[in-house]
Amino acid sequence: MKFLCVQCDEVMSFSDRDLPGDGTITALFSCGACGREMAMLTNPMETQLVTSLGVEIGGRTVPEQPLQQTRSRLDAPRDDAFADEEASLAGDPGSSSTIPATEHEFVRIRVTWTSEATDRLAGVPKFVRGMVKRIYTEYAQEKQIEVITPDVMDRARSDLGLEGM
C-alpha cells in the first residue's frame, strides 16, 4: 500500500505510527513536496489481519524478538514462562552488558545502567524487555556512552524513532 499526494504527484512518506491500545492503528504519512499530512486509520479487524502476519506497518525499526508474535498475542500468558530477567536488571546497575560483539566497527565498552534507568526499563512489558534492553545497550555502545541514564534512553528513543518504548 502506498499513498500518493495527487496535487504533487509524490509518494507520501510514512512519518509516525500510534497504537492507541484499542486494537486500531493510526499511521501518519506526509508529502515531502507540500508537507500535507494524512492519517491512515485501521479498524481492529484490519489491524488484526495485518499483525497476524507478524509484520509491522511502516516497516520494522527493531529486530523481531524470538517468539514475539506468539508472546505478544497470548491473552493469558504464564507469568513465569521465561527465566526472570529481573535478576540481570535489578540490583546490578553496575554490571556490564553481556551483549555479544556485532559487526559494528566501534570499540565495545563496558556499559552500565543507573538505578533510575533500570527502574524505567522495568516498566517495559516483560515480553519485549530483553529486546528493548539490547537496543538501548547497542545504542550506548555505538555512541560510546558508558552509563545509561533516563536521559540517554530519551535520546535513543528520539534518534532511533522508538517512541512508545
Binding site: 502506498k2 504527484d9 504519512f29 489481519l49 497476524s52 509491522e56 516497516g59 524470538p66 500468558p77
Partner: protein, 325 residues
C-alpha cells in the same frame, strides 16, 4: 441533481473520474515500499530456513483424527530415538490441546531468552521441547488477543505464525530429528506443508510423516483423507502407525481385540501406505506416558520392542542417521 463543475463543465463525479485516470497506479510508482511487508515475511522465512539447516530430519506425526494417540507416539518415539543416541527436538504443534510438556516431563520448566532465540525446555532423555504448555497457565484455554467477533478470520493465521515461531525462533542447535506433533484436522497437515514448503527454493518437505490410526472404520476414513493430502503434496515417505492394535495380556504373546473395525494393516492396504508399526494397548505404557515417563525402548515389553523397531525404521528412513544414501 448534481451541479456541473464551474471550470470544466463536468459534474464532480465526472471530474473525479477524470482525475483518477491521471493519477499514477501502484505499478507506476518506484522507490521503496514503506512497510516492506514482503521483505518482512522474507526475513521470517529466512529465519526458518536457517534454523532448519541444523536439523537432520523433520519427522511429522499426524493423523487427521483426534484421540488416536499422536502425542503418545511422539513422546515415546522421541525418547526412543534419544535413548539410542540421537539429538531430538519436539514441537507440540497442537497449540490448543498441548500435551507434550506433560508427556516429556518438561511441564513447568522456564524458557530462556537469548539473542539468537529462545532456549527450549529439556525433558526426558534430553529431548528438547516447545509447547504452549510452557506459555500459558495450566487449566487455561489458549486465547489470542484480538477482536471478539469473527475470530475465525484471523485465528488461523495467528496460529500458523505461532507454529512458525516455534520452529524458527527456538535454539534447537544441531539436532538429528525435529519431531512435529500435529493437531487433529486434515487442514492442519496442509497448513504445515504450506509453512515449510514456502521456506525456499528447495521446496522443503518433511523427511518422514507417520500417520497414526486406530482399528476403527471412522479413523481409517479420516486417515485416508490425510494420506491423500500428503501424497498430493508430494511427501515422499509416509508410514502408517496402528495404535491400540489390541490388548496386550501379561505373559501372553497374542492380543485381544479392542475394536471391531479394520486392522491397521487393512487400513494401510486401503489407503496405499506401508504399515510401519502396530502398538498394542498397554495400561503401563499409557500411564507412564501420561506421567512424563515414556517407555520408549526401556524394558522388554511388547510396546518397548515396537518403539525400538520404529526408532530403527526412522533412523534408516529419509534423513535418518542410518539412512543409506
Amino acid at each position: 441533481m448534481t451541479e456541473p463543475n464551474s471550470d470544466s463543465g463536468n459534474t464532480p463525479r465526472e471530474a473525479s473520474a477524470t482525475r483518477a485516470h491521471t493519477v499514477r497506479s501502484y505499478a507506476d510508482l518506484t522507490g521503496e515500499v514503506e512497510s516492506k511487508i514482503v521483505e518482512q515475511i522474507g526475513e521470517q522465512h529466512a529465519r526458518l530456513v536457517s534454523r532448519l539447516s541444523e536439523v537432520g530430519a523433520i519427522i511429522v506425526i499426524a493423523s487427521g483424527k483426534g484421540g488416536v494417540g499422536k502425542s503418545a507416539v511422539t513422546a515415546n518415539l522421541a525418547v526412543a530415538l534419544a535413548t539410542r543416541g540421537a539429538r531430538v527436538g519436539a514441537v507440540d504443534a497442537d497449540l490448543n490441546g498441548p500435551s507434550l510438556g506433560k508427556m516429556l516431563g518438561f511441564l513447568g520448566n522456564q524458557l530462556e531468552d537469548r539473542p539468537d532465540g529462545v532456549v527450549p525446555a529439556v525433558g526426558v532423555a534430553g529431548v528438547k521441547g516447545i509447547s504452549t504448555d510452557l506459555l500459558i497457565e495450566e487449566g487455561v484455554p489458549l486465547r489470542w488477543k484480538g477482536p471478539d467477533h469473527d475470530q475465525f478470520v484471523w485465528q488461523g493465521v495467528t496460529e500458523a505464525v505461532a507454529l512458525r515461531e516455534f520452529i524458527s525462533d527456538v535454539v534447537w542447535g544441531a539436532i538429528d530429528y525435529l519431531i512435529i506433533d500435529l493437531p487433529p484436522g486434515t487442514d492442519k497437515i496442509g497448513r504445515f506443508l504450506d509453512l515449510v514448503s514456502e521456506v525456499g527454493p528447495s521446496h522443503l518437505q518433511p523427511d518422514q510423516v507417520l500417520l497414526v490410526t486406530i482399528p476403527s472404520e471412522v479413523a481409517g476414513a479420516v486417515v485416508a483423507r490425510s494420506a491423500t493430502q500428503l501424497l498430493e503434496g508430494g511427501v515422499p515417505c509416509i508410514g502408517l502407525i496402528g495404535n491400540m492394535a489390541g490388548y496386550a495380556q501379561p505373559g501372553r504373546d497374542d492380543l485381544l481385540p479392542l475394536f471391531t473395525g479394520p486392522s491397521a494393516g487393512d487400513i494401510a492396504d486401503r489407503v496405499g501406505l506401508e504399515l510401519w508399526s502396530e502398538i498394542p494397548f498397554d495400561p503401563v505404557f499409557g500411564s507412564r506416558t501420561d506421567n512424563g515417563d515414556p517407555i520408549g525402548t526401556e524394558g522388554d515389553s511388547i510396546v518397548a520392542q515396537v518403539f525400538t523397531d520404529l526408532a530403527e525404521r526412522v533412523e534408516h528412513g529419509p534423513g535418518g542417521r542410518e539412512e543409506e544414501k
